[in-house]
């Protein structure tokens, strides 16, 4: 027998918390959050550095503080938080199967579902780095958990591959914990992390960042003893053998990309975006399966949690409306990208949508960048920005004319 809920939110990280609260505010009756961890907050629990909330709260908070703001609000509502609960399946009819030690097998029938499962880190295996398989190779987030949650030091002489934000944050953390961080190697000619993290985490600690450089082999039988690094040909990204050199270290941290965790999404039949690796959504963050919404890093990888919260509020409110039969369901038009625009979210927009915040990322650095939005063949918005880099998510506010015709976002060098 499955229990009826109005809005089921899968994941109790920043996206799930904000979505549940906003669904509640929009009048949803029974709202349930299903969270696999023992406490709410998701990855924020281990992000003990500050830098969160500048946009959303107008002040700088640590990850746990940021999460606590939402958890405190939750306590004033009747939103149910199922902790230590793993969702095993979501169907297109919004039936949810989950398990927990406390509740056993849980079967819910939801009027609307918000997917907020977050993302996972790309691994050494996905990169096919050859060599041995010793202890001492960690994804940056795994190392972060060991340091910040388990009080363990993962290593003392550290090479970091990839300049994603978690890698940059961990570079500084490892230095603060007494380790030596030798370098950060970045395959691309630019960082995928925030500029402020490059300054505060690397430059302030004299850690070199080598662009167009990668790790080509891992050495060490039981524990990492060193890595081979090499520069890559900027055109092909292939390592240049003559530049290879051995770097003695006991730890390799990987910060080489985040992948939305859509294992529960794909079986629902929701259309997926090959660029974001998340679902295709409309301005309500509704997937192509009616009543199933997605927000946060499961939809596309964000740079700032502040943006996650905003996006989750959209999804939560819309889920509540859907559950009450109040969400408009008119025809949609597409949001296409061209030039340097790598992706845009939402990918679909209702024909009668009049105002829209479009979030997007570029595929390379543009200094300065020219951004244009076309509706059909008509240019409806144009703006210049001094710098756009792949590490930063961009936002563009649009006023739309009612009507048909796809939107197209175009970015080029100004």
């Amino acid at each position: 027998m499955s229990e009826r809920v109005q809005v089921a939110v899968i994941g109790g990280g920043p996206a799930g918390l904000a979505a549940a609260l906003s669904a509640k505010k929009a009048g949803a009756e029974r709202v349930v959050i299903l969270e696999r961890d023992k406490g709410p907050g998701g990855i924020l629990q281990q992000c003990i550095h500050n830098g969160f909330g500048l946009h959303y709260f107008g002040q700088e908070l640590t990850g746990p503080e940021y999460a606590q703001r939402f958890v405190s609000q939750l306590e004033d509502t009747d939103i149910e938080l199922f902790l230590d609960t793993m969702v095993l399946e979501v169907t297109k009819d919004r039936r949810i199967t989950a398990v927990s030690a406390e509740r056993g097998l849980i079967e819910l029938q939801a009027d609307a579902v918000v997917l907020a499962m977050g993302c996972r880190e790309r691994t050494r295996g996905a990169l096919l780095i050859p060599g041995t398989r010793p202890a001492g190779v960690f994804t940056a987030g795994c190392a972060q958990r060991l340091v910040n949650m388990e009080a363990c030091l993962p290593g003392k002489r550290v090479v970091i591959l990839g300049s994603g934000d978690i890698g940059l944050i961990m570079a500084r953390r490892m230095v603060w914990e007494g380790a030596e961080v030798l370098m950060v190697c970045e395959l691309m000619p630019y960082s995928s992390g925030l500029n402020r993290n490059i300054v505060q985490c690397l430059q302030d600690n004299d850690i070199p960042l080598y662009f167009n450089t990668t790790v080509t082999c891992i050495h060490g039988k039981e524990r990492v003893e060193g890595v081979t690094i090499a520069q890559v040909d900027p055109a092909t990204r292939k390592p240049l053998p003559e530049t290879a050199r051995y770097v003695a270290c006991d730890t390799l941290l990987l910060s080489v990309g985040l992948i939305p965790e859509n294992e529960l999404t794909t079986p629902t039949g929701a259309q997926m975006d090959r660029v974001t690796s998340g679902a295709v959504v409309d301005e309500f963050r509704q997937t192509t399966v009616p009543g199933i919404f997605a927000c946060g890093n499961v939809l596309h990888v964000h740079d700032l949690v502040d943006n996650v919260s905003r996006e989750a509020e959209i999804a939560g409110e819309a889920a509540a409306k859907f559950a009450r039969g109040q969400l408009p369901s008119g025809p949609r038009r597409r949001v296409l990208t061209s030039g340097g625009a790598r992706y845009a979210v939402p990918q679909l927009v209702s024909e009668d949508c009049q105002e829209l915040d479009l979030y997007f990322r570029v595929g390379a650095a543009f200094k300065p960048a020219l951004v244009q939005v076309f509706q059909g063949d008509t240019l409806i918005k144009q703006q210049k920005k001094p710098v756009m880099t792949p590490g930063e998510m961009e936002k563009l506010h649009l006023r739309l004319e009612k009507g048909q015709g796809d939107l197209r976002l175009h970015v080029e060098q100004a």
Binding site: M86, G125, K156, D250
Partner: protein, 482 residues
């Protein structure tokens, strides 16, 4: 005094241990590694070969075909997966057609059941997605797949349940042969006396044999490297696909695993180092290019890991099995390269017979049970079974490894039942926690917490794989735990 000391805790040694445990005997298994299945048994093609490619009349041919036929019962008793998916040896040219014909004749001579030479049409119908250059194949319906480390762990567990003892983590340093016994000493100065010693030491079997006074063969490791793919993209291959052997080599396999992944490999690289299981950078291009001859559309953008294993290839050209001519108390199970996994149950049978021949008295052990009883894996349970399991033990409701859906209950069971000191990889081999697409990024710290809770090994002392493979090098706050 033990009746039999088995040096080597791979699939061969553990199969022998289990086979001996059905008799009233005192048996011990010794291995230098911290766990069983730490050599070739944890990194190979996981194939139960049909047996058509071994030289007729060889030990390999006889034991492979016999072993293959024993696998159904073995896997059933031990609750280990076995899928008779069948194998194809693909031919790409007229020349290959002759090779296939020769393999077919070999197979008939070896007594391999059900072999058939297929036309191009039949081949493509059987395995979609093959290269259009495939002109035919040799089909072996008895070819199958299993999980070699799970099989080894299950053999060890069943042997333990039947009274076999395990001494892990210290390599054998010396073997002294006395008038009526052998004395085996390890590097940690564990001294064990046994009436007979069985050499199942994998790549080190020549050294162990020499310690016992028999230097009649040498072993050279032959590395095999693999790329394993994400389960989400692994439905491109349903059968074990070989390539016709040519002057260019044995080719590269494309095959599914019993856990729903697919892999390409192995390479065949001769080396002297017996410990080096690194994947060579140059192996990647070789694997990709050669495997693509069989299946052109490989999901090369979705690998989850690379691994390599070492085949223990003896210079005799065959398995070295049976009583040593130099030492009456030594029985060999050496040179066990491919098809060693397929042959393991038959090798065990043969070694037991050799021990009996050497004078070991075999008296049935009335308490012997061939069954490794364990609960159905959570990921294979129906919703009702899941609800029931959690009701009986709430730790089934706590999922530690999300990618492979492994609950705390299965991890705790593995920690409590393993023969050696628990490590993260020892848990992984027994439960699959950490084998999925996130490769332990999420669950590793949680598995470490459970190891700490169950064993009192402090978090910062837990190893990846025993020995010096500590995962953390110290603590960041508070006192180091004692």
């Amino acid at each position: 005094m033990y009746d039999v000391l088995i040096v080597g805790g791979g699939v061969t040694g553990c199969a022998i241990a289990r086979a001996l445990s059905r008799y009233r005997l005192k048996v011990a298994v010794l291995d230098g590694a911290a766990d069983v299945a730490m050599g070739a048994s944890r990194a190979n093609s996981a194939i139960v070969h049909a047996g058509y490619d071994c030289e007729p009349g060889s030990k390999m041919a006889r034991l492979n075909v016999r072993g293959n036929a024993m696998f159904d019962q073995l896997c059933q008793e031990l609750d280990v997966p076995l899928k008779r998916v069948g194998s194809l040896v693909l031919g790409f040219s007229q020349q290959d057609g002759k090779s296939l014909e020769r393999l077919y004749q070999n197979g008939l001579a070896n007594g391999v059941p059900g072999l058939r030479l297929l036309s191009a049409e039949e081949t493509h119908a059987m395995q979609p997605g093959l290269s259009d250059k495939v002109l035919g194949a040799l089909y072996a319906p008895t070819g199958g797949i299993t999980c070699p480390y799970e099989l080894t762990c299950a053999l060890a567990k069943n042997a333990m349940d039947n009274g076999v003892e395990f001494y892990l983590g210290s390599p054998v340093r010396s073997i002294a042969t006395l008038a009526d016994a052998v004395e085996v000493e390890t590097e940690e100065q564990v001294l064990l006396r046994g009436r007979y010693v069985v050499n199942a030491a994998g790549v080190h079997a020549d050294e162990v044999s020499a310690l016992a006074g028999d230097a009649s063969f040498h072993i050279r490791p032959r590395k095999g490297e693999y790329i394993l793919f994400d389960r989400a993209v692994s439905d491109f291959v349903q059968m074990v696909l070989f390539q016709a052997p040519t002057a260019m080599g044995k080719g590269i396999l494309v095959a599914p695993t019993v856990d729903g992944n697919a892999y390409i490999g192995p390479t065949a690289f001769n080396q002297d180092d017996k410990e080096d299981v690194s994947v060579r950078p140059e192996a990647l291009d070789e694997l990709k290019a050669t495997a693509a001859l069989s299946i052109p559309n490989l999901p090369l953008s979705k690998p989850i890991t690379l691994f390599a294993g070492l085949r223990a290839v003896a210079d005799t050209g065959d398995f070295v099995i049976g009583r040593s001519e130099k030492n009456p108390r030594l029985v060999q199970a050496a040179g066990i390269c491919s098809p060693g996994l397929s042959s393991a149950p038959a090798i065990a049978e043969e070694v037991v017979a050799s021990l009996a021949e050497a004078g070991l008295v075999l008296e049935e052990n009335p308490a012997y049970s061939p069954l490794r009883k364990r609960k159905k894996r959570f990921r294979h349970m129906s919703p009702q079974e899941k609800a029931q399991a959690i009701a009986e033990n709430p730790a089934y409701g706590r999922i530690i490894c999300r990618c492979e859906t492994v609950p705390e209950a299965e991890i705790v069971e593995a920690i409590r039942e393993m023969p050696g000191v628990p490590s993260v990889d020892a848990v992984k081999r027994r439960t699959r926690a950490g084998m999925g697409r996130c490769q332990g990024g999420f669950c590793m710290p949680r598995v470490m917490e459970l190891i700490e809770r169950e064993t009192n090994i402090p978090m910062d002392q837990i190893t990846k794989n025993g020995g010096g493979s500590r995962i953390c090098v110290g603590v960041t706050r508070g006192e180091a735990k004692q």
